[in-house]
Structure formats: structure tokens, C-alpha cells
């Protein structure tokens, strides 16, 4: 039995909470007939970590790529910091992008650059007047935040999967974003490393007071990091709630995620 979808209605939000990301009626179709998003509505409040759960191909990554303008939706509205990102010019969008960090599934480190250069490029692209010493200090600070200051001179090819994710996170953090979008941060990692990454996400939230959307199908990560969970199915929000609420949900689809943890 499939539960009736309960898309989060931005109008019904708690008045004490400030929405930082608001998505209304988001649609996206690829190749003419592959409708991936079929009217997504979601809100992320300031300081909140929202986890989006869903199986592969359900439109999770497409949703967060629409937020940063990597994918243009066919229909809908995306408000970030109260500005509709779909109506912004490239320059205006870039000003918003600086405040949003994005951790790619593959970490997407620049292969031809060392860890230092990966971080410094992102920093100096926006702060061109920084002295080499200031750049070095900021790079070190970002690396210390993820516990990898020793890796500063390494090339991405010399890093393990977990290290790549951490460096990707450090590169994201160097611009001190207010929002971080995590695209499957623990995919491809062993249980212990996944836990370390989840702890890091929590640590960043507490230290830097960020808001996040975390795309995952790792229930352990969801349990540790989520203030609220949305379950995406076939391009629509199937249900939402806290981890504890969803754990008790009797819907078969939702239960299938929690049963995978028990196995």
C-alpha cells in the first residue's frame, strides 16, 4: 500500500523558522519523455539538516543540481535566501553560489592540481587580493577542519575515497558557505569511513551553523545527520518526518529503507 504523498507545503511552516531554501512545484523531464521530477515542494529552514532519501533515479541529485543552477528545471520556483534563482543573471547566480557549498558524489577534485591548489583555486577565485600567506593559512584551516592537514601536498590520485570526500568538503568549506548540499557523501565508503563522514557533517553543522540538504540512501548517515527526512519516490515527495517518525511508518516503501539497516 502506497501512502498518499505529503509534499511539504511552505505555507504551513513553523513561523519561528526562517526558510533558507524553498522549492515549489519543480518539474524536470530529460529526453522528452523521462520525467524525473514531477512537482517537488520542499523547504529547508535555517540551521536545519534535511535528508532526502530515495532509490537511484528517483530525482534526488537532479533536485539539488537545480538549486545551484547546474540543471535548469522545466517548471517551478526555487528560492534561495529569498531570491528565485531561476530568474537570476549569471552574475547574480554566482553571488548566491558562493554561499552554497556542494559536495559531489565523486568529490570532483581537480585531478591536475594538488590538494593545496584545489583549495586555493576556489579561494583566490573570489578573494583575489589575498596574500600567499593568507591563502596558505585559510587552506590549512580548511584542511584542519576535516582532519587532513597532512595531505596538503598530495595529488587527488594519491588519496583514498574517504580522503577525497574530506578534501572535497574542505574545498567546499573554504568559502564559508551558509548552505551545504551533499550528494551521497558516504556512497562507496566502508562503514567506519561513512560514520566518520557523517560525524564530520554534524561537526560542520555545529561549528559553522550551516543548513544542509543531504542526499543519501545510507540510513546510518540519515539517522546521524537528519533533523528531518523526506522520502522521494518516482519524482515526488512520498512522505516526510523525523527519523523516529519514519522508522514507525507502516508504508512498505518507507519500511524498505529501514529494513535494509536491520539486515
Amino acid at each position: 500500500m502506497i501512502k498518499e504523498k505529503k509534499n511539504s507545503d511552505p505555507k504551513s511552516k513553523d513561523k519561528n523558522q526562517t526558510p533558507i531554501i524553498e522549492i515549489k512545484n519543480l518539474h524536470k523531464t530529460f529526453g522528452g519523455d523521462n520525467e524525473v521530477l514531477k512537482g517537488i515542494n520542499l523547504t529547508v529552514n535555517k540551521g536545519e539538516d534535511l535528508v532526502i532519501l530515495g532509490r537511484s533515479g528517483s530525482g534526488k541529485s537532479v533536485t539539488i543540481k537545480c538549486i545551484v543552477g547546474l540543471i535548469e528545471p522545466d517548471q517551478g520556483e526555487i528560492k534561495v535566501f529569498d531570491e528565485n534563482v531561476l530568474n537570476l543573471s549569471k552574475e547574480e547566480l554566482n553571488k548566491i553560489r558562493v554561499k552554497i557549498g556542494f559536495l559531489f558524489q565523486s568529490a570532483a577534485l581537480y585531478d591536475s592540481m594538488s590538494v593545496r591548489e584545489n583549495l586555493a583555486l576556489t579561494l583566490t577565485a573570489h578573494k583575489r587580493d589575498l596574500s600567499p600567506n593568507e591563502v596558505e593559512n585559510e587552506v590549512m584551516e580548511a584542511l584542519e577542519n576535516v582532519g587532513l592537514s597532512d595531505a596538503i601536498d598530495k595529488m587527488p590520485s594519491e588519496l583514498s575515497g574517504g580522503m577525497r570526500k574530506r578534501i572535497g568538503l574542505a574545498r567546499t568549506l573554504i568559502l564559508k558557505p551558509e548552505i551545504i548540499l551533499y550528494d551521497e557523501p558516504t556512497t562507496g565508503l566502508d562503514t567506519i569511513t561513512s560514520r566518520e563522514i557523517s560525524e564530520l557533517i554534524l561537526d560542520i553543522k555545529h561549528k559553522q551553523k550551516t543548513s544542509s540538504i543531504i542526499i543519501t540512501h545510507d540510513m546510518a548517515c540519515a539517522k546521524m545527520t537528519a533533523d528531518r527526512i523526506m522520502v522521494l519516490k518516482d519524482g515526488v515527495i512520498h512522505t516526510e518526518g523525523t527519523y523516529e517518525e519514519l522508522e514507525k511508518d507502516e508504508d512498505e516503501w518507507v519500511r524498505s529503507f529501514f529494513e535494509s539497516v536491520k539486515l
Binding site: 543540481k65 547546474l70 554566482n94 552554497i100 556542494f102 570532483a108 581537480y110 585531478d111 583575489r128 574545498r171
Partner: protein
């Protein structure tokens, strides 16, 4: 057939838009000087050994192959001038450009294609770094400036190769050899040949960047981008050369 033609014209249209963006982005700050210099080093300096070997062989072979014909007509003394003219006007620019198409254009196509597939270009985009300016403008500009320098270098090494070729069958003084070359050359031999090398460089860089930047997702497309960059850049070199020769013939 019609679909293939449509696809070709669509590619030409997209490439034209891609190239026209270069002229807009190149004048607008910020300027990625550090990356540009890095690309000049990678494209120019690292190609010197390959161009040197090829240039020397071109000069040597051209001299050895031309000598018997000139000897038949008793015009052996024209050999240095003929070799220099052939090298400077046509052979060195075209062969060097073809080598650069193979080495540089494919390299750029594969590098950018792999960056596209592994979301590195997207990572730049979401960090509000302009990937076109950082990756494309710097590479096209470096190619446009480095290929002419490589061609000058190939000319010089080719002339040395010619000297070696002449000395296989005789004993010619190097100073006399050079004097004969300088006497047979005019500015009009050098200038049109130099101008066309800037176009060669621009197209080598632009085609490599276009193919890499527009690689579709999947590792297979990286190979396709590199391969397609070499083929298209090589074909473009011949077309540009043909146009350049016609224009030179018309005006000079």
C-alpha cells in the same frame, strides 16, 4: 545522410558560438594569468623536443630528396634557398601544426572531456568559477601564441637539418649556407606563413576545448572527444592552409 549533414551543420554552429564566446571572455576581467602561463609551459615548452626532432628530419629529408633533381639541372647551389623557402612557407607550419593537433588538441580534448565526465567542470561552476574563462580561454590563447613560436623553432631546426643533408654529399660552410638562405628569402615569404600559424594555433586550441567541453557523460566520450579533436583539427589545418595560400597568391 540528411541527418549526418544536419548534425555537421549543428556542430559547426555550436563551435562558432563557442569560439565567439572566447572573444567576449578574453577581454573581460578577471584574467587567469597564472593558468595561462601554466598552459604556455605545457603546450609550448613541453612540445619543443617533438617539434625539434620532426623539424630536423623534415629539413634533412627534404634536402636529400630534392638534391638529385637539382643536380640534374645543374642547380645544386639553389638547394639551401629552396629548402628554406619550402620549410618556411609551407612544410614547417603545416607539419608542426599537424603534430600540435595530434599532441595538443587531443590532450586538451581528453583532459576537458575527463573533467566534464567526472563533474570537475560542474564543481568549478558551483564554486562560481567561470570554467570557460579558466579552462578554455587560457588554453586557446596559449595555443594561439605558442604554435607560431613552435613553427619558428621548427623552421630553425629544419634549416639545421637541411645543412646536415647537404653535408652528406659535400662540404658546405655553415656561414655560406646561411648566407644563401638569407639571400633567397624575402619578408613576404615569412609574413603570410607566420600569420597563418596564429590561425592554426587558434583552431587547434579551440577544437580541442570544444570537443572536450561538450563531451557527453560516460568515459567512452573522453576517447571520442580526443579522437574527434585530432581529426577535426587536422582537417581544419588543411582548410586554413588552402585559404591562406589562395589569399597570399591573390595579394602578394
Amino acid at each position: 545522410m540528411i541527418l549526418s549533414l544536419k548534425n555537421t551543420f549543428s556542430q559547426i554552429g555550436s563551435a562558432t558560438l563557442f569560439a565567439s564566446r572566447f572573444f567576449k571572455e578574453i577581454i573581460m576581467p578577471p584574467y587567469e594569468t597564472k593558468e595561462f602561463l601554466k598552459q604556455c609551459y605545457a603546450i609550448g615548452y613541453k612540445s619543443f623536443p617533438l617539434v625539434a626532432i620532426t623539424g630536423f628530419i623534415m629539413g634533412l629529408v627534404l634536402t636529400i630528396q630534392s638534391r638529385p633533381t637539382l643536380v640534374t639541372f645543374g642547380a645544386e647551389s639553389w638547394l639551401p634557398g629552396m629548402v628554406a623557402l619550402s620549410l618556411i612557407r609551407e612544410i614547417a607550419p603545416v607539419i608542426t601544426a599537424l603534430i600540435c593537433a595530434g599532441k595538443i588538441s587531443s590532450g586538451i580534448g581528453a583532459e576537458l572531456g575527463s573533467m566534464k565526465v567526472t563533474e570537475q567542470i560542474d564543481a568549478m561552476e558551483v564554486s562560481a568559477i567561470n570554467p570557460y574563462k579558466y579552462l578554455v580561454v587560457t588554453r586557446i590563447l596559449a595555443c594561439t601564441l605558442m604554435v607560431p613560436i613552435l613553427v619558428f623553432f621548427a623552421d630553425a631546426i629544419g634549416i639545421l637539418g637541411g645543412y646536415a643533408g647537404i653535408n652528406i654529399h659535400g662540404d658546405v660552410n655553415f656561414r655560406r649556407y646561411l648566407t644563401q638562405i638569407i639571400q633567397s628569402l624575402e619578408f613576404l615569404d615569412v609574413i603570410p606563413a607566420t600569420i597563418k600559424t596564429f590561425f592554426f594555433g587558434f583552431f587547434i586550441g579551440m577544437i580541442g576545448c570544444f570537443k572536450g567541453f561538450n563531451a557527453s557523460n560516460g568515459t567512452e566520450s573522453v576517447g571520442k572527444a580526443a579522437n574527434s579533436a585530432v581529426v577535426t583539427a587536422s582537417l581544419s589545418i588543411f582548410i586554413i592552409d588552402m585559404v591562406a595560400v589562395q589569399i597570399t597568391d591573390l595579394f602578394f
